[in-house]
Amino acid sequence: MDRRQFIKQSTFFYLGGLLIPSTLLSSCRKENLLDVVKFDGTVMIIGAGAAGLYAGYLLKSKGIDFKIIEASNAIGGRMGKLEGFADYTIDTGAQWLHGKNNILADLIQAKNVQTTLDETELSYWFNSQIVTTLPQDPFIFEEENLPDVSFKDYAHQKGFGTEYDAIVEAIAGDQGASASLLSAYWNSKDEENWVSGDEDFKFQQSYFEVIEEHIAQPILDQIILNTPVQSIDYSADKIIVEDINNVSYSADRVILTVPISILKLNEITFNPVLPTEKTDAFAKFGMGPGMKVFLKFSTKFYADALYGGTICGAYVDDTVGKSTSANVLLAFIMGDQAAYLHSLGSDTAITNALLQELDGMYNGQASASFIASTVFDYTAKPFIKGAYGFSTIEMGNAREIAAQAINKRLYFAGEAMNINGHHQTVHGAVESAYNAVVNFLNDSKK
């Protein structure tokens, strides 16, 4: 073989050897996951919170038939809005985008939604005075190898006296938990997977409106409100979902996005009953009381953010990032403090208790400049019953077990079912939703 022949033959060899396999491989490689999977059945999504809405939004984009049934009379779950209280729309539920390395940060950038970095400086109510620094740094819960004890006990073990209890309560409150129930160890394990970022952002419009406009709007006609589910029968080929009025809905797959509190309380019955491992996992979650109270004042006499109240762990200026002249203070109350205020029995009593504490902190200025308040008690909401799911002592892998599908037909989503460290957030709920859809489509492969 001469050189010319060799080159000719080798050229064919190279092209054949490289390009043909490359072309074949390329044609097998799709940019989108599960593009080749066709699902002709119907999906029933239970719950129209962030997870349920996103699951629906995703299914619509894939051309899959679905319905969302929501127990309450509104979409949003633990998101909501209040208009008319101030000159801006108030987020009555989730209001911060936690970090900008997440799917919703991508959404708001793509949709050109305006946000503001919340750079509020923390102050503390400590030894009956407002201070900007503390003798000891109480943010000790992100270290490695923490013991499986409560935040409260761990703080005491580390030498923090009872004068820090209310501040530790506020830190635990960020996780929607009471400091006496939140596990230092399991919470830190959760934090290991947190990759969203530590910066918090607020929306010029409300967070709820962003989700409503960009996620819910395209699927509103698929949402059925005022339909609390009482049972799910997945014993036959078709899954039968029955509401409290005994109206039945048939589906091939179900994505359950109800709060973990509803599952813990067995408010939905299953046939066949869920495996014990599953119900045990639900039981290990914490989901404590949670409340947000918005207090409107004629003057701004308060710090931008104050931790350490014994009635309310965290008072935060709600107007940060808003175009407003109003003075609205958010009382962010979780755990034992929320349980106490809930026990007072009326919005007026709750407001008075908060004003009394604020008067003590600010020399009576709260009552003097008070205009109005509005209370959002998530514990009292019959289809929510709490703030958000948190990791308790001896939590173990309960979250992973809780999030697992049953018989490749019942799927679980929602903030508590986020298994990658982003639970307790809206973007975490969204991630759990698309993960449930990915799983069910994978399971549906012929």
């Binding site: 396999p21 491989l25 490689r29 940019e31 995703l58 390395n101 991508d106 298994i419 993960n435 990915v438």
Partner: protein, 227 residues
């Protein structure tokens, strides 16, 4: 690798006379397949229907390398190789143009075989490289920064490259050679790749991947001896 194997490898390197014989520079098109990186990008695309333009897979890239072949009168020679590979995935959406840049830097030792009497100008290289990778996310033309740090994922692994080429003489000591390669990275540990692309950790992919690739390119050789 067992100690005994390492000893034989070192012996092989030392036994090959180490003085300058050939300098080689090459440039190649690089087709690449990584199951885990595919999965991450596919999940990213799947989960974000609000982005109409999908993020392409890391499929097509460029590779460039410099090799130094040690002098040896035998058919089997050895050398060292420094290579750089670059892959880019860009999707332009309104208000959101995302570019992912995947870079590899590889330092390798290789065995080079040629036998002019039997094979004419044909040669083959077997390259074993230590590989490092860097994955970066740019949004709207700027490095994506959060918490005051650039979004990035570094990786480390090993690579095996089997190359087949053919010498064509240009001048006395200058040759060019078209070549093809099969490149296999059995293990690239890059735990943050999912964080950079899909902004999650442990949700859709492992923290390591294997990569299979093929290259076709052209090398320029400066050889001390006339062939």
């Amino acid at each position: 690798m067992r100690l005994q194997h390492l000893y034989y490898l070192v012996l092989l390197i030392v036994s090959i006379n180490a003085s300058a014989q050939e300098l080689k520079v090459d440039l190649s098109y690089n087709y690449s397949y990584s199951n885990q990186l595919d999965k991450i990008i596919q999940t990213y695309n799947f989960s974000r229907p609000f982005l109409t333009e999908k993020q392409p897979l890391f499929m097509n890239g460029l590779n460039s390398s410099v090799s130094y072949v040690f002098k040896n009168e035998r058919h089997l020679k050895s050398g060292i190789n420094l290579a750089y590979s670059y892959f880019r995935s860009a999707a332009e959406n309104e208000n959101f143009n995302m570019t992912l840049q995947l870079n590899f830097l590889k330092l390798g030792y290789f065995l080079h075989y040629e036998n002019p009497a039997k094979w004419k100008g044909l040669y083959t290289d077997i390259i074993l490289s230590a590989t490092s990778s860097g994955l970066f996310r740019n949004v709207n033309g700027k490095a994506f920064i959060y918490d005051e740090a650039t979004s990035k994922a570094f990786g480390i692994g090993g690579e095996l490259n089997l190359k087949l080429g053919y010498y064509l003489q240009l001048k006395n000591q200058t040759y060019v050679s078209p070549f093809i390669s099969i490149v296999y990275t059995p293990y690239l540990y890059s735990p943050n790749s999912e964080v950079v692309i899909n902004q999650t950790k442990g949700l859709c992919a492992k923290n390591w991947t294997s990569i299979l690739g093929a290259q076709i390119g052209l090398a320029v050789h400066l050889r001390q001896e006339k062939k």
